[in-house]
């Protein structure tokens, strides 16, 4: 069953990586989801946390936790936004998708198995699209399981979270992940090795985060913020305000552009031995 086509074979190959990232993400998220009720129910503790955070320069806090600190101890969405969705979850998604995206073509080429695969009556574009479908499937599954976990945790701890907005931020982080996953895929298709493709895509992801996060403090960065995919992921605060369709469409468009570049490059170049 898992060997019926390239999508299923790729899912089979990547299941261990998927489980690993799932454990990291859900484990970390569960800690914060269960920690939130203590802050909510303990005003002293909440105040202490706010005071502690305020002891740091405001720019530093904004760079790593966003600007939702005012409601940090009173609204679960603000808490999860700052602690999970501002930096940890998106960067984890980017690392997962970048390593996945670079491995499916560049990795297979590097291991030398791409020759045998290409000797079958399957076009290069179909191979690429099936592998991208596998990447998308696991990224969506990762997001869905993360959301289910947060929903269950919030019900169990009697935490009031807007589940629709939770879906919005999940969708947004999936789209952000796919941007860098398809970018890594495209870099691999252009001819970069798997490590380089992962490194370049992940580094661009981190750079994109910093450009967006530091732009609120360093005004010189403001003009560049609109070039950062992170900006379109978080600027509308989907967990608090809901999904901004324009931002989501932009992230989707970036993914499609990267995928088209991958298709164009893979179709035309020599496969290395």
């Amino acid at each position: 069953m898992m060997l019926n086509n390239i999508v299923l074979k790729t899912l089979r190959d990547k299941r261990r990586a998927m489980i690993g990232w799932l454990l990291v993400m859900t484990g970390m998220s569960l800690i914060y989801a269960l920690y939130w009720p203590y802050i909510r129910d303990n005003a002293f503790m909440g105040q202490m946390m706010i005071s502690y955070l305020q002891s740091f320069p405001a720019g530093l806090i904004e760079a790593f936790m966003g600007s939702n600190l005012t409601q940090f101890t009173t609204h679960a969405e603000s808490f999860l936004d700052s602690e999970l969705f501002f930096i940890f979850v998106p960067l984890a998604f980017i690392l997962f998708t970048a390593s996945f995206g670079s491995d499916v073509i560049a990795g297979e080429e590097d291991r030398g198995t791409l020759d045998l695969l290409l000797s079958n009556p399957i076009s290069r574009s179909r191979i690429l699209l099936e592998k991208f479908a596998a990447l998308t499937s696991y990224t969506v599954l990762l997001g869905a399981l993360l959301e289910i976990e947060l929903v269950v945790a919030s019900v169990a701890t009697n935490t009031n979270i807007n589940f629709i907005h939770l879906t919005d931020i999940t969708l947004s982080v999936i789209l952000l992940g796919l941007v860098f996953g398809s970018m890594a895929l495209a870099l691999g298709c252009i001819g970069l090795g798997p490590s380089t493709s992962t490194g370049v895509a992940a580094s661009l992801g981190v750079a994109s985060y910093f450009i967006n996060a530091l732009a609120t403090t360093f005004k010189d960065l403001q003009p560049y913020r609109k070039y950062s995919p992170f900006f379109y992921y978080i600027q509308a605060d989907p967990l608090i305000n809901g999904l901004n369709t324009g931002d989501a469409t932009f992230l989707l468009a970036l993914t499609i552009v990267a995928l088209l570049v991958a298709l164009f490059a893979f179709q035309r170049r020599d496969i290395s031995v």
Binding site: N5, T113, D115, S119, N120, P121
Partner: protein
């Protein structure tokens, strides 16, 4: 129906400034076993990868079944079985899983036939590929190439790692393919192998096809190093001038010489003396080229 299964015209590949292959003109006929002979680095694998559209030519073109290898690659690959020279497989799969996956990618195969191939090659499919020896991996690669009974087999050094018993079985499989009117394009640097199973041989050197010979012609022109142990000392003059014999050297009753073509004359000359042993050594490819093209002509 196309009679020339493979046609290459001026097929050339450069990797930047490095030479791959230059101006190849090849024709392989239906039902033929065509050997592609050349030392490592001559361009055998480059040619095969051009034919399978893994790499694109710098100039020139190639056709398989009358279709351009780039424009109609998908149609071509439906009817081609391939074994790569640098064998790399999905190491975490078992042989069975590997064949199952490839069978799906080819829209199914006759599993009875696959099982027969597996038995003939004495191959274990239940173990993870990473735990197999190179020879056993090669057997699985051969099964995947043969399993959908392709009209054309493109095999890059297919007997690498096979023990002599399995090599013989492989030769029988090639003979069966030929008997069914299917075509084989096989690269090798092992002359006896090519002599045994091929109808014609293309000789590749430094990226250029220097000759296409019938195997019979190749045999008649190929050379062997001969070592004859005599029970007594023998005069060198008895062998100098014998047809096809050159480089005669005699020491302590052992004669060393090089023979081009048939051994008949030298064996008859030796029979005048008490012979204890005859040993032949296969020449290197470089020596074959020298015998074909002379010391000064490398192209």
């Amino acid at each position: 129906m196309v009679d020339n299964i493979i046609i290459a015209e001026g097929l050339t590949k450069f990797y930047g400034k490095s030479r791959g292959v230059v101006d190849l003109d090849i024709e392989v006929e239906r039902g033929e076993v065509f050997g592609y002979l050349g030392p490592n680095g001559a361009g055998k694998t480059t040619t095969i990868r051009l034919l399978l559209d893994f790499i694109r030519p710098t100039r020139g073109q190639a056709k398989i079944f009358g279709n351009d290898v780039n424009q109609n690659s998908l149609d071509i690959r439906r009817h081609v079985g391939y074994v790569p020279g640098e064998l790399a497989m999905y190491e975490n799969m078992t042989g069975k899983d590997f064949l199952t996956y490839f069978a799906h990618l080819r829209n199914g195969v006759d599993w009875d036939y696959v099982n027969r191939l597996t038995e003939r090659l004495d191959c274990s499919l239940s173990q993870a590929i990473k735990s197999l020896s190179h020879g056993n991996k090669q057997k699985i690669a051969l099964i995947q190439a043969f399993m959908n009974k392709p009209d054309l087999l493109i095999l890059d050094e297919p007997t690498t790692g096979l023990d002599p018993l399995m090599q013989r079985e492989f030769y029988r499989m090639i003979e069966e393919v030929k008997a069914e009117g299917r075509t084989v394009f096989l690269s090798s640097h092992v002359i006896p192998e090519v002599e045994r199973i091929c109808d014609r041989v293309g000789i590749l050197r430094e990226g250029k096809l220097v000759a296409v010979e019938g195997v019979r012609d190749l045999k008649s022109r190929s050379l062997k190093h001969l070592e004859i142990h005599f029970a007594e000392s023998v005069p060198k003059e008895a062998f100098v001038g014998v047809s096809g014999v050159r480089d005669v050297m005699i020491e302590n009753g052992i004669m060393h010489c090089t023979v081009v073509g048939s051994l008949d004359a030298v064996v008859k000359a030796a029979s005048a003396f008490p012979v204890e042993n005859i040993i032949t050594h296969e020449p290197t490819l470089e020596e074959i080229f020298m015998s074909f093209y002379g010391q000064g002509d490398k192209a």
